[in-house]
Amino acid sequence: MSKVDLKSPFTPEQEKVLLGWTKKYPYTNLGLIEALRSVQDWHRMITPEAASRVADIFSLPFNHVWGVATFFPTFTRWKTGEKRVGVCHGLSCYLKGSDKAEKCLEKTLGVPKKQATPDGKLSWETMECLGACEQAPALLVNDRLVGPATEEAIAKLKDLK
């Protein structure tokens, strides 16, 4: 254990959390997606090193974990901001001006999509239907719906702590 810990990209507390995910459900592997979600939260992305350590903890081949980490849109190979902002461009949101919201996000945050602001606080991206089509164009911050992506709502993102 200690030998592996030295190489671990995680803090001892984080190691504990990951181990917790292996025990949370009736089968070890049922916790893998949640474990990777934790890694994404901590590192704002999934690196091969992190995936490799997760693979060790779950006793899975690296290829398996890397395959999963590269399959799901929640996991990124680019570093997101601390606040990850998503705007939906599904049909209902498109009909209500998601294009305009995207332009407004780019202008207000001053970075293109999938790139964090220089202070690392914020990043934005387009997302597929967020299940909030009645609040189109739906705006999400760290998996929490914040309502329609109006100019005012987007302007407020910069004040998020």
Partner: protein, 408 residues
């Protein structure tokens, strides 16, 4: 109009156990636990409850395909599918937000019938608010001793639309890529970790307390033939009042639209997508179609998950088709070549049409690509790719003609 799921939605604190119980919540569970499991299943068969996550499969029958414990011993599971992510669909989010205990009660009834001691709620990761609500509701129910010997586990997805398809959902839960499985075996025989598993949608399970309380026949009477009870429509797009509306199965499209205040700004209706963007649209002339699984099929489309999108006359069918194909390309799991490549081709053809670079024969190409996918892939997403282009090109030929210079 009869309401089952949204009956108490005016109660301010319906999401709290105390309120839910004051209104008779968990009485059905008590009644269920005093009944024979077989008898309960019979009630559900009698109710004509259909799976409301999109497939419309009769729920009682689905449960009956779980092998009996003496034939296949060992654990069996119930999994709640709370992963709606098709554009237009948001009723499960509203149900979980407003009435989490209604879902839990339904889940506990189903767990008893199926014999599940570990039951799961798989919720899309983007529903963090709803996850918190459910977590609190489960804790409340547990503290009140309502869970009995059932463990309810919450588990989040990671942003893939395909995870909402039952077999892909099970793969996701098992910590794998969300690649749909090719049945048979069906999940009720070999589901989570190869064990018999019933996967039911949030809305479906939320109907169970009513069915147990009032009886299957009472539920069946509310709906239309072979389509019991009510159904929720989530309505968005160009309507006056977007939101979730509950109506008896078989209600006419015209009446459902009226509930949402009709087309916004008094404009003319161009089309209604009835059940989520992969469903072929209905037109003005279809306003008298009855909305249940069977009648709508006769009208050439599907009820899906009740995600209704209303489009006014200003909308261009090519833009719509492009938006949907872009979505499907993004969400194709990549397992079958015809789907992976064909969705992408369809998107690109539509993209060049939008850019004014449409070529002669593009509309036919779209049809050809679609035909080469349909029936040659593992899951319904691939079939949808062709269905979408076929529907939009055939219903709005003029919009497509305009995009192809010199098409004659």
């Amino acid at each position: 109009m009869t309401k089952i799921l949204t009956k108490h939605f005016d109660e301010p604190k319906l999401h709290e156990l105390e309120t839910y119980r004051r209104l008779g919540g968990y009485e059905a569970l008590k009644k269920a636990l005093g009944m024979e499991r077989k008898a309960l299943q019979e009630e559900v068969v009698k109710s004509n409850l259909r799976g409301l996550g999109g497939a419309g499969f009769p729920v009682g029958f689905k449960w009956s395909t779980v092998p009996p414990e003496d034939k296949v011993p060992g654990p069996r599971y119930v999994v709640v599918n709370c992963d709606e992510s098709e554009p237009g669909c948001f009723k499960d989010r509203v149900l979980v937000t407003r009435a989490p205990h209604q879902l839990l009660e339904g889940l506990l009834i189903a767990s008893y019938v199926v014999g599940s001691k570990d039951s799961f709620i798989f919720i899309r990761g983007e529903y963090q608010n709803q996850y918190d609500i459910l977590e609190k509701a489960v804790a409340e129910a547990k503290a009140a001793g309502l869970l009995g010997d059932v463990n309810i586990h919450l588990m989040r997805g990671a942003g893939a639309y395909i995870s909402g398809l039952d077999t892909a959902l099970l793969e996701t839960m098992e910590g794998k890529k969300a690649w749909p499985r090719q049945p048979p075996p069906f999940p009720t025989v070999a589901g989570l970790m190869g064990k018999p598993t019933v996967v039911n949608n949030v809305e479906t399970l939320s109907m169970l307390p009513f069915i147990v309380r009032e009886g299957g026949e009472a539920f069946a009477k509310i709906g239309s033939a072979k389509n019991g009870g009510t159904v929720l429509f989530s309505i968005s797009g160009h309507v006056e009042k977007e939101g979730v509306y509950e109506v008896p199965m078989g209600t006419k499209l015209r009446d459902v639209l009226a509930l949402a205040g009709g087309v916004k700004g008094g404009k003319k209706l161009k089309a209604v997508i009835p059940g989520g963007t992969s469903m072929p649209p209905l037109l003005e002339k279809d306003l008298d179609v009855a909305l249940d699984f069977d009648a709508i099929k006769a009208a050439g489309t599907m009820l899906g998950a009740g995600g209704m999108i209303v489009l006014d006359e200003t909308v261009d069918a090519v833009e719509v088709a492009h938006n949907i194909e872009r979505f499907l390309t993004h969400e194709s799991c990549g397992q079958c070549t015809p789907c992976r490549e064909g969705s992408n081709w369809s998107e690109r053809i539509l993209e060049r049409m939008l850019e004014g670079k449409g070529e002669k024969g593009d509309t036919e190409n779209l049809a050809r690509v679609g035909e080469n996918i349909t029936g040659k892939v593992i899951c319904a997403l691939g079939d949808t790719v062709g269905m979408v282009t076929r529907a939009w090109t055939s219903k709005f030929p003029d919009d497509f003609k305009k995009r192809v210079p010199n098409n004659g």
